[in-house]
Each structure stands twice: as structure tokens, then as C-alpha cells.
């Protein structure tokens, strides 16, 4: 369906966006390069404030970058073809509240009128699985239904490129699943998607390729599997322990010592809590690593409070790269 030779749907290079402020301002996007190929779902994964939304809104032509090049569907914003580009885009913004007093069909019909092609109004309502809510007021819809309506408004033109900015934030698992199914159907019809999320399950399920973004920079890119494989570990050993007393020399856990243990690929400290210390240990061979880690704990005098293992995920990739969790503040 798509591969490295697929044509480019959108790209940016050397993107910089600063927001002025009293304390020197904020650099929201700091030299970002991205390439989205036709037919793929490209994800921007990162914590809140990483610059995902700013990046997407620059690609959507809603925000002007301070530096860098942007090309969408082969054109640049501001060259006099903006409305033609928009005819080919479907956009779902974070936190748009559609008019409460209108019904589903009235809302879709309004958005459909802006586009020169696409399915008819009832067809779009079907795509978003809102047929039985066709005549319901927007204000009466559940969170998931509202989000599918936002999706319907983005799908009215049968877009070449669909932008989804945190499409499932705040939804319950069932509602999230419905949104994913609508997006998967769109991908199944050959559509191209750019998606931002801070849910690794969402990124892992929908995205063919991902860029992990932190502080406005791309810190990793690849398919979900490639990124997880990059950890060099299949399992993650989580442990938390109370530190040994300060007056005992050479006590406590040490990342270098842990990483050198048999079966271990590496270790990262989680957070900086004084009371207890969390570790994520990347493990190649659990059978060899577990006894060695326990022996090291014993040697260090640290008191073990919690121990668990899980399959390595994108979350672990992010923690490995940044030392922070995706949803830490």
C-alpha cells in the first residue's frame, strides 16, 4: 500500500516556531524535519507541550512558522493556492466544539457545502457511524459521538490527507475503539493520515510510522516495531525501592552496574523522588537478568518496594529516550 518510494503527501524541513513571552518566550518547534508518504498513517507521539499540535497546525496552514519549509500535497501555503490545498485536506482540531443547537445532519451538511467533491451528506454520516444520531442535537451527543462527528466533518471531502489532533483524548476505551475503526476504514480506502497522540496504544495500533517528539524536536522515528526493537530488549523490569541510608558507602542502585548485569540491555531512573526510586531495566533475557538484579539489590542495601515485568512498548521507548513518562507533567 505504501513504502519508502510512495510519493510525499506532506513534508516539512527545519521547522521553527517560537511564541513570544515575558520570560524570553517558548520555542514550541525547534528545527523539525518530517516526511509523510501517501497511503500511510504517520504519527507524532509525545507528551503534552512537546510541540505536536503546533507542528500539525503549521502543516494545516493555520499557523505560520518562523523558519523552515512546508509542503502539503505538493504546494506551499501562501502561494495563492490555499483554498485548493484545503479542498484536499480533512482536519480535526483538538478541542473544537461544534454548535450545540444544530443536529448532526445539519452540521455535516454545512461542512459538506464548503467542498467540491466527496460523498453525499448521509454517506459521510454512515462513515462516521452516526446514522442513528442523524437528527440528534450536537449538544446531546456523548463525547465519543461528538468526536466521530468532528471526524465526519473532516471526512466530508473524502480528503487526500487527514489530520487528526489527539482524536481520542478524554474518551473511554469503547468510544476510542469506535474512533479507531473509522480511521482504519479511511486508511483501508487508501487515505493518508497524520495523527498526534500521547497514547502509545493508539500510536501502536494506527500508525505505520511514528516520530517521537519532545521539546519541539524529533528524538526518534520509525515504525512502532522498529522503535521498540531499538530498545534491544523484549521485556522491561520495573522496580521501585527505598534508597539505602546515605552514610553507607557505595550503597544504592547504580545504572552502570545494573546495565552490566547478565541479560540486561540498560537501565533508566524514573523520576527523582527522594523517598523511593523507580527503575526501568531493559531486559534481553529475563531468566538470566532477574536473579542478577535481585542479587544486586541485595548487595546495594536498597529496600525493594515493587517489582513487575512487562513486554516492551512505545512508552518504554519514550522513557528510555527522555527519562520521563509520556503523561508525566
Amino acid at each position: 500500500m505504501h513504502d519508502a518510494s510512495s510519493p510525499i503527501a506532506a513534508r516539512c524541513a527545519g521547522l521553527v516556531k517560537r511564541y513570544p513571552g515575558d520570560d524570553g518566550g517558548v520555542v514550541a518547534v525547534d528545527g523539525l524535519d518530517l516526511e509523510v508518504r501517501r497511503g500511510e498513517c504517520f504519527g507524532l507521539l509525545g507528551p503534552n507541550g512537546a510541540g505536536k499540535t503546533t507542528t500539525v497546525e503549521i502543516l494545516e496552514g493555520l499557523t505560520t512558522p518562523d523558519e523552515g519549509l512546508v509542503e502539503v500535497l505538493g504546494r506551499r501555503w501562501g502561494d495563492g493556492h490555499d483554498r485548493e490545498i484545503r479542498q484536499g485536506l480533512g482536519i480535526q482540531l483538538q478541542e473544537t466544539q461544534l454548535a450545540d443547537k444544530l443536529t448532526v445532519v445539519e452540521t455535516v451538511r454545512l461542512f459538506r457545502s464548503f467542498y467540491e467533491r466527496g460523498p453525499d451528506v448521509d454517506g459521510v454520516i454512515g462513515l462516521a457511524r452516526l446514522v442513528d444520531k442523524r437528527s440528534a442535537r450536537v449538544g446531546k451527543l456523548s463525547g465519543g459521538q461528538k468526536q466521530r462527528l468532528a471526524l465526519a466533518c473532516a471526512l466530508v471531502s473524502d480528503p487526500e490527507l487527514l489530520f487528526l489532533d489527539e482524536p481520542t483524548t478524554g474518551l473511554d476505551p469503547q468510544a476510542r475503539l469506535h474512533v479507531w475503526e473509522v480511521v482504519e476504514e479511511f486508511l483501508g480506502r487508501g487515505g493518508t493520515v497524520v495523527l498526534t497522540t500521547h497514547y502509545m496504544e493508539e500510536a501502536a495500533r494506527l500508525c505505520h510510522r511514528l516520530a517521537i517528539i519532545d521539546h519541539g524536536r524529533r528524538i526518534a522515528q520509525g515504525s512502532p516495531d522498529e522503535l521498540v526493537d531499538g530498545l534491544g530488549a523484549e521485556q522491561i523490569l520495573e522496580l521501585r525501592c527505598a534508597p539505602a541510608p546515605d552514610n553507607v558507602p557505595d550503597s544504592g542502585l547504580d545504572g552502570a552496574r545494573l546495565a552490566a548485569l547478565p541479560g540486561v540491555a540498560g537501565a533508566s531512573v524514573l523520576g527523582g523522588a527522594h523517598e523511593s526510586q523507580g527503575w526501568l531495566i531493559r531486559v534481553r533475557d529475563i531468566a538470566a537478568a532477574l536473579p542478577a538484579v535481585l542479587a544486586e539489590l541485595d548487595r546495594s542495601g536498597a529496600h525493594l518496594e515493587h517489582l513487575a515485568t512487562h513486554q516492551a512498548t512505545l512508552e518504554d521507548v519514550f522513557v528510555h529516550l527522555t527519562g520521563r513518562g509520556l503523561r508525566d507533567e
Partner: protein, 352 residues
Amino acid sequence: MSDKRGGALHPLVELTRVRLLEFRREPEALFWVFVFPVLLAVALGIAFREKPPAPYQVGVTDPAVAERLAGADGLEVEPIGLAEGLDALSRGRLDVVIEATGAPGKEGAGVRYHYDALRPESRAGQLAADRALQRAFGRRDPVPSVLEPASEVGSRYIDFLIPGIIGLNLMGSSLWGIGFSIVNARTRKLLKRFAATPMRRSHFLLSYVLSRLLFLVLEVAAVAGIGWWIFGVALHGPLAALLLVTVAAAFAFAGLALLLAARPTTIEGVSGWMNLVMLPQWLLSGSFFSYERFPEAVWPLIRALPLTATNDALRAVYRGEPLITGIGPEVAVLAAWGVVSLALAVRRFRWQ
């Protein structure tokens, strides 16, 4: 055409349709636009309804004089003692007190008028009482005179008020209706969502103007209809002229509303601007009383306000004045307000 848009109509039609649907589903908006102005017109019309002129209250100390004055036109005569009469005069219950200073008709007889020179009713009452008294004792006027009080239709307060309320309502419903709706859409990030579509931005702004033009027909009909039905306020000019003036006014106020709502991001912010624009016009533009009470030097400024132009033109149409001179300048003023503010609004409009 309809296939290209998948069953939807032209975006300008769809946007205007949505405006109308949203307005119709807002019961409070319906109350303020339709019911409130009608209630206001009825309340003020009843409060200031025409009454026959009140007779002057005349206290008379001498019964013989009182008898001669009884039945005189426009006087209500009451025999009263002098001290009591002066007290009633000072309280404003009597307008004038006639004190007899001798037997009437006899040598040396006469009357003394007690009145309040600072009170117009008292001064007029004294003159009316004197004229009636002199005639009652045989005076013949050297110049014959006939009295002709003004009573033509169209000169009552309600005739003045109804066009003023129509004007006031046109301003209020445009500014509140458009201003709140746009700022609300901005805070909900709905404007940003529209900006992300290929929608023409001019279509979006024009849909507000168009929906106002459609609604104004109903708004004007409500107030004008009640004025005619309850108070007999009749339109002497052509209906087409009324329509022209209201369309020009709605255009001007819609432009002004779009300009005021072009940038604020909170309802409080836009409310402040709207009050700043509306309050002076409530006071100056002659909705409830004529602005000709203000110094003549400021009339040109007052006449340049859109609400003044609306009120003056509506009154000219109601009175049936010649159209070119009666409403021409006012319609030009309104068109200028609409064009200039709409142009500024398009340039300054903040979509996100």
C-alpha cells in the same frame, strides 16, 4: 450543482440557514428580539398616552366671584378660604387663588391673583382665570380670535415612539445577536475549524448580514404591527421605503457588530465594546425623546450616528415625507457605516 456538494447547497445559503436555525432554537434570543420591544412599546405607549388637557385648579375666596366663573372653559373652580387657598397653592394643588378685595361690581371692588410665577401651569392658570373673569363681568375683546389646538394624527408621543423602538431594536438585535454568536464561536474554536476549510471567509461574514436582513422583516413587523393595532400608529409613507430604511439600518448595524466582534476572545470583552457603542446612541439618538433638546451645535454629530439616521428616516417614512429629502441623507449615512465597518471587520477579523 447539488451533486457536487453532496446534497448541500451553496455555502452562503447553508451558512445563512444555520444562522437562522440556531437563532430559532434560542428561546431567550426570541424573547429579547420579538417580545421585549413589543412589551416596551405597549408599556411606554400606555404610560404616555394622550389625555385631555387638565383644567387649571382655581381657588376663589368670594362665593359670588366663584359663581360667575363656574363653567368657564378650562377652569376648575373651588371656593376656599384665603389662608387655606395659599397653602394649597404652595403645595401645588391649586394653580391660582383669586382673592376678592371688595364686593364685586361695587365702587373700589377688585381681585388679587396669588400664583407661583416660577410654575408654568400657575402662570397660565392666572391668565386663563383673568380672561374668564373679565369676560364674565362683561368685557368684549377688541380683536376676534379663534382657538385651534394641534390634533393631527402623527403628532402624538406614541407616533414618535414606535419608529424609535423599531430603530432601537434593529440596533440591539444586530449587535447582541451577531456579537455574541461570533465571540462564542471563537472561544469554542469553531472559527478556527471553519478557517481550516476552503470556506470563503467573506461568505461566513455575509451569512450574518443576510440572516439579519431576513429576521429584520419579522422584527419590524412585530413592533410596527403592534403600534398600528393597539395605538393606531399608521404608516403614511410607502411600505417599500420602510423596507429600504430597515435594510440599510440592518446592514449598518450588522457591519458594526462584525467589526466589534472581529477581535475579542471573551463574551465580557465584546459586551464592553457593544455597550460603549450602544449607550451613547440610546441617550443621543432620539429613540425616546428628540435630540433637538441638545445644543444645536452637536446635531450634525448626533445625526451622523447610525441609530439617529435610522430613527430620523423611520419617522420620515411614517409621516410620509418626500422620500429623496426625507430619507436620502440618512440612508447614505447608514450605507457608509455598513460599508466602512464591514471592510474593517474583514481586515481585522481574528479566526483563532
